[in-house]
C-alpha cells in the first residue's frame, strides 16, 4: 500500500493543482514534502533486510507489481530529495519562463512516473512507468516551443521512443528465453535459450543506455538538458538519466551480480566498461569546449554518467569481488544528482537575473550573488572531486574498484585506469572554467537585476547541506545504504568500508595533483583560446547522424519509388492482358474479314490454348485436384 501511495501521491497533487483556481496553497511543495517524509520513514525498514512488495491484482495479462529493496529505496529517497529542492526553487524561477502551472503539472506527473520506474517490481511495470516518464518529461524539453526547443524535443522523444521499443523487444526475448514473469529484485535469470537471452541483454543495454546518455547514444542529451527550463534541466540531469543507470544495474541483476558471468553474457561486463570509459571521455572533451553554461553542465552529465556506467561494468567484471564497483556506482549516482542539480539551479539563478547563459558574457558576479557563488563553489568542488565533499568520496570508491580491476594486469584495464585519472583532470578544468567565467574575471557588462528571492538559494542550500554531510563522513553512505543494496542484488556479505579508504595519503595526493593539473589546463585553455575551438561537423556525432539520416531518407525514397514502378508495371501488364482478352472476345463476336473462316481469331485461339495448357498442367501435377471430377460433381 505504501508503495502505491508513493506513486499515487504526486498524481493526486497534479489533480489538485489542475482544479485549484485560487492558488492559495503551494501544492507542488506540499506534495513533495509529503512524499519525501513518506519515502524516508516508510522505506527505512527495507535497509534492515527484507523487501516490501505490492501487487495490484487486476485480472488479465497485466497485474502491475511494485516492490522496494534497498537499491530502490536509495533511488526513491534521492528522487524525493531532488524534487523537494526543485519544488522550493521552481515557483520563483518559472515566473521568468511562463506557463508556470503547466510546468508544475508536468513536474508532478513526471515525479509519479519516476517513482514508478524505481518501485516497479517487474520489467513490464517498469516499462509502463518508463514510457510515461518519457512522455511527460518531453514537455519539459519543449517548454519554450521555439525552434531550438522543438528540435531538442524531437531528439529526446525519438531516442526515448526507440529506447522504449528496444526494451519491449528485450522483454519479448527474455520471456521466450527465460519465461515470464520477469521480476526485478529477485536475482538472476536462468535462460533456456542463452543466445536469445544474450540478445535480450544487449537490447536492454541499448534501451537503458539511451536513457542514461551512454555514448554513442548520448546525442540527444545535451540538446534536451540545455533547452528545458532550469528546474527541468536539474531534474533531467540529476535524476531522469539515473533511470538509465538504475536500469543498467537491474540488467546486471538479470545477468547476475556477484558471480563470474557465464560464457553467454561475459561480453556484457567488458562492453559496459568500455562504453563507460568512452562516455566519460566524450562527455568531458565536449564539455571543455562549451561556451554555454547549461550545455557545459549537460555534457558533464554525460561524462559523469560515464563514471557510473564504468562502475557498473567493473563491478560486473570483477564478479564476486565487484562489490566496490557497484557500491561506488550507486554512490556516484547519488552524489552526481546532488551537485549537478545544485549547479543547474545556480546557473538558473544567474540566468533569471542576467537573461544570459553564455559564460563569456558573464563575469565578476560573486559580489552580486555571494551566497549563490559560495554554493556553486561547493558544488564545483564536489564534482571536481575535492576532499571533504561528496564527489571525492564516490570517485575514490570507484577508483579503488578500477584499480582492483587493473591489478589483474590486463593492458586495456590499465589504460582504463589512466583514462579515469585523465577525465578527472578534465572535470576539474571545466569547472574551474565555469566558476571563473561566471563569478570571477572581469565584471560583466550586462544589466544585472537585484537578487529577488532567498528561496532560490535555500533550494540550493538544502542540496549543498546533504553534499557536505556526505563529504565529511564519506564512509557513512556506503556502509549504511550502499552495502545492503549490493547484498540484496546478489553479493555475498561485504566488509564495511573503512574511513581509511578515503583518508589516506595516496588518494589525497592523487586528487591534489589532479586538481592542480585541472586548474593548469583551465588557465592554459583560457589564455590560448583553445576552449573556443569548434570541432568540424563531421567529427561530431550530430554531423555523422545527419549523414546517416540523409542516407536513410535517400534509400527510403528510392525504395518506395522502385516499389511503385514495379506495381505500376504489373498493373500495365494486367491492363494489357485484359485488353487482349476483350479484343479477342470482340473478334469472336464480330469476326474480322480474315478470321471469318473459323470465327475464332488467332489471339483468341492463343488465349484458349494457353488456358487449356494451364488446366492440363495443373491436372497433371495435382491428381487430387482432378478438375474433371470437380466439374462432374457440380
Amino acid at each position: 500500500m505504501l508503495l502505491l501511495l508513493l506513486v499515487l501521491l504526486p498524481l493526486v497533487g497534479a489533480l489538485a493543482l489542475l482544479f485549484d483556481k485560487k492558488r492559495a496553497w503551494n501544492i507542488p511543495l506540499l506534495t513533495c514534502s509529503l512524499v519525501l517524509a513518506l519515502a524516508i520513514f516508510g522505506l527505512k525498514p527495507v535497509f534492515g533486510g527484507g523487501t516490501i512488495s505490492y501487487t495490484l491484482n487486476l485480472p488479465g495479462p497485466f497485474a502491475p507489481v511494485l516492490q522496494a529493496d534497498p537499491l530502490t529505496a536509495i533511488f526513491v529517497i534521492l528522487a524525493a530529495l531532488l524534487w523537494f529542492a526543485v519544488a522550493i526553487y521552481a515557483p520563483k524561477y518559472m515566473v521568468h519562463e511562463g506557463k508556470v502551472k503547466f510546468f508544475e503539472l508536468v513536474t508532478l506527473l513526471t515525479y509519479s512516473a519516476v517513482l514508478g520506474v524505481f518501485l516497479a517490481g517487474d520489467l513490464v511495470t517498469m516499462l509502463l512507468f518508463f514510457e510515461l516518464m518519457t512522455i511527460t518529461s518531453f514537455f519539459w524539453v519543449v517548454h519554450r516551443w521555439n525552434r531550438e526547443a522543438i528540435r531538442a524535443g524531437y531528439f529526446y522523444l525519438f531516442f526515448s521512443i526507440i529506447g522504449g521499443l528496444l526494451i519491449a523487444l528485450a522483454i519479448v526475448f527474455l520471456g521466450a528465453s527465460a519465461g515470464l514473469p520477469l521480476p526485478l529484485g529477485a536475482g538472476r535469470l536462468t535462460p533456456s535459450n542463452p543466445t536469445l537471452f544474450a540478445w535480450a541483454i544487449g537490447l536492454l543495454l541499448a534501451g537503458f543506455g539511451i536513457k542514461g546518455g551512454m555514448a554513442p547514444l548520448h546525442v540527444w542529451l545535451p540538446h534536451a538538458h540545455s533547452n528545458a527550463p532550469t528546474p527541468g534541466s536539474a531534474l533531467l540531469s540529476g535524476l531522469l538519466i539515473k533511470v538509465g543507470a538504475y536500469g543498467l544495474i537491474r540488467v546486471g541483476e538479470l545477468a547476475g551480480w556477484g558471480i563470474t558471468l557465464g560464457a553467454g553474457t561475459a561480453w556484457l561486463s567488458t562492453t559496459i566498461t568500455l562504453l563507460g570509459v568512452l562516455t566519460m571521455l566524450i562527455g568531458v572533451a565536449a564539455a571543455l569546449l562549451q561556451g554555454d553554461g547549461k550545455r557545459l553542465l549537460a555534457y558533464h552529465s554525460v561524462s559523469q554518467m560515464g563514471y557510473i556506467i564504468l562502475g557498473i561494468g567493473v563491478g560486473l567484471y570483477l564478479g564476486p569481488d565487484g562489490g566496490l564497483g557497484l557500491v561506488g556506482s550507486v554512490y556516484h549516482i547519488v552524489n552526481h544528482a546532488l551537485f549537478k542539480a545544485t549547479l543547474f539551479l545556480g546557473v538558473g539563478v544567474i540566468y533569471i537575473h542576467t537573461k544570459e547563459t553564455d559564460l563569456y558574457k558573464l563575469g565578476g558576479l560573486w559580489r552580486r550573488f555571494p551566497v549563490t557563488a559560495a554554493l556553486m563553489f561547493l558544488a564545483a568542488l564536489g564534482i571536481a572531486g575535492a576532499p571533504g565533499l561528496n564527489g571525492y568520496a564516490s570517485k575514490t570508491v570507484l577508483h579503488h574498484a578500477v584499480s582492483a580491476a587493473a591489478a589483474s594486469g590486463e593492458t586495456w584495464l590499465i589504460w582504463v585506469e589512466r583514462l579515469f585519472n585523465l577525465v578527472g583532470i578534465g572535470t576539474a578544468a571545466s569547472f574551474a572554467k565555469l566558476f571563473y567565467l561566471i563569478f570571477l574575471g572581469k565584471p560583466t557588462e550586462l544589466e544585472v537585476a537585484e537578487n529577488e528571492s532567498p528561496r532560490l538559494q535555500i533550494a540550493m542550500g538544502v542540496l549543498a547541506a546533504v553534499m557536505l554531510t556526505i563529504g565529511l563522513a564519506p564512509q557513512l553512505f556506503p556502509n549504511v545504504l550502499g552495502l545492503p543494496a549490493a547484498e540484496s542484488l546478489g553479493f555475498a556479505k561485504l566488509e564495511p568500508i573503512p574511513g581509511s579508504l578515503f583518508w589516506n595519503f595516496t588518494d589525497l595526493k592523487g586528487i591534489a595533483i589532479t586538481l592542480a593539473l585541472g586548474i593548469g589546463v583551465c588557465w592554459a585553455g583560457l589564455k590560448s583560446g583553445a576552449f573556443h575551438w569548434h570541432p568540424p561537423l563531421w567529427l561530431s556525432l550530430e554531423g555523422l547522424g545527419g549523414k546517416v539520416y540523409l542516407a536513410v531518407a535517400f534509400l527510403w525514397t528510392k525504395g518506395i519509388a522502385l516499389y511503385h514502378s514495379l506495381t505500376k508495371g504489373l498493373g500495365r501488364a494486367g491492363r494489357f492482358l485484359a485488353g487482349k482478352v476483350s479484343a479477342a472476345y470482340s473478334d469472336l463476336v464480330n469476326p474480322k474479314d480474315g478470321a471469318a473462316l473459323t470465327g475464332i481469331s488467332a489471339t483468341a485461339a492463343l488465349l484458349i490454348l494457353t488456358l487449356l495448357a494451364l488446366i492440363a498442367w495443373y491436372t497433371m501435377i495435382n491428381p487430387v485436384f482432378n478438375v474433371v471430377k470437380i466439374v462432374l460433381q457440380w
Binding site: L58, P59, G60, P61, F62, L127, L128, F130, E131, L132, T134, I135, V142, W145, I150, G153, Y154, L157, F158, I161, I162, G164, L165, L166, A168, L169, I171, V172, F173, G175, A176, L196, W556, T557, G559, I560, Y563, T567, L570, G571, Y618, I621, N622, P623, V624, F625, K629, I630, Q633, W634
Partner: protein, 481 residues
C-alpha cells in the same frame, strides 16, 4: 437466437425507414438512425456475450438450392462487438460532421444498411453465407464512397468496385473448389478442409488469400484503399479503417483457422510465406504513409500497414500470435478511428487537409490534437496505450513460431510509425498560443469531439488494464487451439 436476428435486422429496418422519411425531416431521421444503431448495439452485445459465455447459436435455411447458415462463434462475436460499437460512435460523429450537408437521406440509409451487412459477415456460418454478405458489403458501401459525386469520387468508386469484384471472383472460385472437395463449407470446430492432402491446397489457399486480401489491402492489392479516401470522414474512419477492411481480415482469419485449420496450415508451403508477405506490407505500407502529405491518404496507407499486423498475428499459427491479432483488432480500431476523427475535425474547423500546413493548429484545437497525440503514441506501440499489448503478443507469437525477425519487423515498424505521426503532433504546437482562435466550441464540434476523446480514453484504459478485453480474446484463441 432472437438477439442475433434483431441485431441483424436493426440496420435493415432502420435503412428502410430512413429511405421513407422525407429528406427535409432531419429530426425524425436522426431519431430513427440512433434508434436503429442503439438497437443493433444492444442486441449485438447480447449476442456476443452469449457466444463468449459458450452458447451455440445457429440458424440454417435453404434457399436457391444452397444452404445458408448463420452461426457466430467467438471470432465472429469479437467482430460483432467492434463493428456495432464503432458504428454507434461513428453515427454520433456523423451527426456533427454531416450536419447541414446534402444528400443525408442516402448517406444514413446506406450507413445503416452496411451495419447489418457487416454484422452478417461476422455471423456467417458457412462460406456461402460469408460470400453473399461479403459481396453485399461492397455494393452497399459503394454509394458511400461516391457520396460527394465529384469526378474524383466516381473514379475512386469505380476502382473500389473493380478491385472488390475481382477479389470476390477469386473467392467464388475458391469456395466452389472447397465445396467440391468436401461437400460442405460449414464453420464448425473441425476445420472444413481437415484431412485433405495435396500440393493443390497451396493454390487454394492463395486463391482465398487473394479473394479476401483485396479488402484486407494486402500489398499489392491495396490500391483502391487510398483512393477511397474521397468519402466523407466518418465513412473513411468507419469503413476504410475498420468495418470493410476488417471484413477482409476477418475472412482471412476464418480461412486460416476454420477452413484450413492451424494443423493443415502448418504443413503448407505457401502458409510459411504468408508472415513475410504480411511483414512486407507492414513495412512498405507505413513507409509510403510517411511520405504522404494529405493527412487522410497518410492514414489510409497506414491502415494498410496496420491491417497486416493483425494478419501477421494470425499467420504465426500460435495462440500467442492470435491473441495479439485479436488484441490488435480491438486496439487498432479504436485508435485509428480516433485519428480519422481528428483529421475530420481539423479539416472541418480549419480547412486544412495537408500535413505540412498544419503547423500551429494545435493551439486552436488543443483537445483534438491531444487525442491525435495519444493515438499517435498508440500507433508507435508505447505502453500506456492498448496497442502495446497487441504488439507485445504479436512479437511473442512471432518468436514462438520460431521467427524472431518478425518481432524485429514490428519494432522497426514502430519506429517508422513514430516518424510518421509524432512530427505532425509536435509541429501542431509550433509557435505561440497567443492570437489563435479557439475552434472547439459549438454543438457540431462537440458532437465530433466527444466520440474522439472518448475513444482515446478507452484506448488508454485498455492500455493500463488489458484484462478488460482479455477474456474475449482468450475465448477466440481457445476456440481454435
Amino acid at each position: 437466437m432472437i438477439n442475433l436476428i434483431l441485431a441483424l435486422l436493426s440496420g435493415v429496418v432502420g435503412a428502410l425507414l430512413t429511405a421513407l422519411i422525407p429528406a427535409k425531416n432531419d429530426r425524425l431521421r436522426t431519431t430513427v438512425v440512433f434508434a436503429a444503431l442503439a438497437s443493433a448495439l444492444i442486441f449485438s452485445w447480447r449476442t456476443a456475450l452469449l457466444v463468449f459465455a459458450g452458447a451455440e447459436l445457429e440458424l440454417t435455411f435453404g434457399l436457391a438450392g444452397l444452404t445458408w447458415r448463420l452461426a457466430p462463434d467467438p471470432l465472429g462475436a469479437m467482430f460483432v462487438l467492434i463493428a456495432s460499437t464503432l458504428w454507434l460512435v461513428a453515427g454520433l460523429y456523423s451527426a456533427g460532421y454531416m450536419a447541414g450537408k446534402r444528400n443525408l437521406k442516402s448517406y444514413y440509409s446506406f450507413f445503416l444498411l452496411a451495419n447489418s451487412i457487416t454484422l452478417g459477415v461476422a455471423c456467417a456460418g458457412n462460406l456461402v453465407a460469408l460470400y453473399l454478405f461479403y459481396e453485399l458489403l461492397t455494393l452497399s458501401t459503394y454509394p458511400l464512397v461516391i457520396h460527394e459525386r465529384s469526378a474524383e469520387a466516381v473514379k475512386a468508386g469505380a476502382k473500389y468496385i473493380i478491385y472488390s469484384l475481382s477479389g470476390a471472383g477469386a473467392l467464388l472460385a475458391a469456395i466452389v473448389i472447397t465445396h467440391a472437395l468436401t461437400g460442405h463449407s460449414d464453420f464448425t470446430s473441425v476445420p472444413v478442409l481437415a484431412g485433405q492432402t495435396g500440393k493443390g491446397l497451396n493454390w487454394l489457399l492463395a486463391l482465398f488469400i487473394a479473394g479476401f486480401g483485396v479488402k484486407a489491402a494486402i500489398m499489392p492489392l491495396h490500391r483502391w484503399l487510398p483512393e477511397a479516401m474521397v468519402a466523407p470522414t466518418p465513412i473513411s474512419a468507419l469503413l476504410h479503417a475498420v468495418a470493410v477492411v476488417y471484413s477482409g481480415v476477418y475472412g482471412i482469419i476464418r480461412v486460416v483457422y476454420t477452413v484450413f485449420g492451424p494443423e493443415l496450415m502448418s504443413s503448407l508451403t505457401f502458409a510459411k510465406a504468408l508472415p513475410w508477405i504480411a511483414s512486407f506490407t507492414i513495412l512498405v505500407g507505413v513507409m509510403i504513409a510517411t511520405r504522404q502529405d494529405v493527412l487522410k491518404k497518410r492514414l489510409a496507407y497506414h491502415t494498410i500497414s496496420q491491417l497486416s499486423y493483425i494478419l501477421l498475428g494470425a499467420f504465426t499459427l500460435q495462440p500467442l500470435g492470435l491473441s495479439g491479432a485479436m488484441l490488435h483488432m480491438i486496439s487498432y480500431s479504436l485508435l485509428k478511428v480516433t485519428l480519422f476523427f481528428c483529421a475530420g475535425i481539423i479539416a472541418e474547423q480549419t480547412g486544412e487537409t495537408v500535413v505540412s500546413r498544419m503547423g500551429g493548429v494545435g493551439w486552436s484545437l488543443p483537445k483534438t490534437m491531444a487525442a491525435f497525440g495519444v493515438a499517435s503514441l498508440g500507433m508507435v506501440g508505447m505502453l500506456p496505450l492498448n496497442t502495446f499489448w497487441s504488439k507485445y503478443y504479436l512479437m511473442r507469437g512471432g518468436v514462438a513460431s520460431g521467427s524472431w525477425p518478425l518481432a524485429l519487423v514490428l519494432i522497426t515498424s514502430g519506429i517508422i510509425n513514430a516518424v510518421c505521426f509524432i512530427p505532425t503532433v509536435v509541429a501542431a504546437f509550433k509557435g505561440e498560443s497567443q492570437g489563435r482562435v479557439h475552434l472547439e466550441s459549438g454543438s457540431s464540434v462537440s458532437l465530433m469531439l466527444v466520440p474522439t476523446v472518448l475513444l482515446a480514453g478507452i484506448s488508454l484504459l485498455i492500455g493500463l488494464w488489458p484484462g478488460l478485453v482479455w477474456d474475449g480474446v482468450q475465448a477466440v484463441v481457445n476456440s481454435f487451439f
